[in-house]
Amino acid sequence: MDLSSAFVLALRALGRNKMRSILTMLGLIIGVGAVIAVIGIGEGAATKAQEQLAALGSNMLFVGSGSVNRYGLHVGSFQTKTLVLADARAIVRECPSVSATAPGTGTGQQVVYGNENWATQITGTEPQYFAVRNWPFASGTSFSDDDVTQAATVAVLGDTVRKYLFGSRNPIGETIRIGTLPFKVVGVLTPKGTSPGSGQDQDDVIIAPLTTVQKKLLGQEWLRWIMVSAVSRQASYIAQQQIESLLRDRHKIRSGDPDDFVVRNMADMADAAAEQGTVMTVLLTIVASIALLVGGIGIMNIMLVSVTERTREIGIRMAVGATEEDVRLQFLIEALVLGLIGGTIGIVFGVTSSLAVSQGLGWPIRIPLYAIALATIFAMAIALFFGFYPARRASQLNPIEALRYE
């Protein structure tokens, strides 16, 4: 029997028992759909996490002032007063794996413009901060090094702050009040979204010259943190070691005593996030594969019933000259067609359900082509695997007994 006749025959045989064929395929439809949805959601989440980390700068390190241990009581981070501007200058000067640093501090303040007011975080830093954080401007420019030297009252707005204070108006050149001081708005940043680590809104911020925040808003000389840019992502691990030993040296910490600062490496965070995503995807894929397997067993079950039901048909075919191979081929192709149709419906089902999830829950979705190819191949392989035994059983029937079968 040639293949095209076998396909026509298979389609017809399946068409005769539409309800049964659909129910048989249901297992595969759900299995394939689940695989696609899982991969889609997993890939989407991984892509999103990577984008967020890339936005943060994967070769970035964060040096924070440490926690203080007073009489055995740990008081939260950013408490020590030992991290100073000279440290930031020393890091960029003495650590070969570091390309730039941006020292900074911060405080929470009430911000007022016209009738609008908003409580936000004021970050004091130097102009290179925007480059280190890879953060482009939506409009306007950064404050200058001179502004830092002169402690000028100028400010750059994060997108959230701009939205609350100005709405659709152009904020450049306008004057806002931070605490009691008037500041002139010189720039607005592009939105960066939530932080992958803490989930904080990174755009809910105003950035001003370091000296201005230190002297006019805080009255503190020390830094809360230093953003460090390593020369490359690989170099960030070496940079971390260089910074740690340099700061211990500069802060005169004896060996054995704890650091009075913390260094966090974004590459570590990226790896951790990626690994978390991978584990999740693997787990979900296993669950989806089990669904596919169950679908395959369903195919085998129904194919066995079908072979028994069609014993006489098989006998007739053998009597008029069908070989064992012909009969086996017929049932294998029937299983294959079940797999093919079930797989196709499953893909449609998987894609629509992941789109629904992304719409409903706001999760990012990315369905790569390989997921569709994988699901299709898997569905057909399972159909063939589980169709083989029933097909073999059909081909091994004794034609005389098969013809007599009632």
């Binding site: 006749s5 009597a319 000259g321 034609p399």
Partner: protein, 262 residues
């Protein structure tokens, strides 16, 4: 109704009537039925020449069905020789036997054995599906075969839409479509009323007149009278093997029978 028959039309082997189409020698078949061994055939020897029309009679359990299954290459003998056109069938593989069933033998069964929910045309095409005949030839030859049995206008009917006699004629068309050397009919009239039975015998006689060898199993003596030769089985052996004196002519018999409303 023109019938092209390969036996007369083709080979020189077929033309040589001295070479038998079927030659079996000391055929034996044993079955294991639970504890006991059943001897279905106990040494059967017979020659059937091309163009013969043989009726095989016998009580149930006499071995006639086993004999037919072996002749039809659906079963293999325990011992003995079966030569089909000089070829020793016992030596052939399952695949080669399937090919012989496909090319040289046409089957007609008591229960018609048509595929349900499949049209008369497609049922007739079935053997050609396994001889890799292309789609156009399949349909053309199936239509010809249906015309041979007088069902040209029923090609697109399903078996459930046909009477018993019509279904059996579709089965005959299916058996003829690959132009076999012989037609094996196992109780072909068993499920038919007497007039329809004679109608089927009329087709058989016509095919036989055109040269097709027919071997027919029946337990109805009336039906056997349409054949040229009668072989009676008893207890796995041939009890009697006679030429039928003045076989009935189905066409004549039909004239004496009352017609039924169709």
């Amino acid at each position: 109704m023109a019938i092209v028959n390969p036996v007369t039309a083709t080979s020189s082997v077929a033309a040589d009537v001295s070479l038998p189409l079927v030659e079996v020698h000391d055929l034996r078949k044993n079955y294991q039925l639970g504890e006991t061994e059943v001897h279905a055939l106990r040494g059967v020897s017979v020659r059937i020449k091309p163009g013969d029309f043989v009726a095989i009679m016998g009580a149930s359990g006499s071995g006639k069905s086993t004999f037919m299954n072996i002749l039809g290459c659906l079963d293999k003998p325990t011992s003995g020789r079966y030569l089909l056109e000089g070829t020793d069938v016992a030596a052939l593989s399952k695949k080669e036997l399937a090919r012989i069933r496909n090319q040289k033998i046409g089957f007609v069964f008591q229960g018609f054995n048509l595929l349900g929910r499949t049209t008369a045309l497609e049922n007739t095409e079935l053997p050609m599906l396994y001889s890799r005949t292309n789609k156009n030839d399949r349909e053309r030859r199936a239509r010809e075969a249906l015309a041979q049995v007088g069902l040209a206008d029923r090609a697109d009917h399903f078996p459930s839409q046909l009477s018993g006699g019509q279904q059996q004629r579709v089965a005959v068309a299916r058996a003829l479509v690959n132009q076999p050397r012989m037609l094996l009919a196992d109780e072909p009239t068993g499920n038919l009323d007497s007039r329809t039975s004679v109608e089927v015998m009329e087709i058989f006689q016509k095919l036989n007149t055109d040269g097709l060898t027919i071997i027919l199993v029946t337990h109805e003596p009336d039906i056997a009278q349409f054949a040229k030769r009668e072989i009676v089985f008893r207890d796995g052996q041939i009890k009697r093997d006679d030429v039928v004196e003045a076989p009935h002519v189905a066409g004549e018999v039909l004239k004496t029978m009352p017609t039924v409303e169709d």
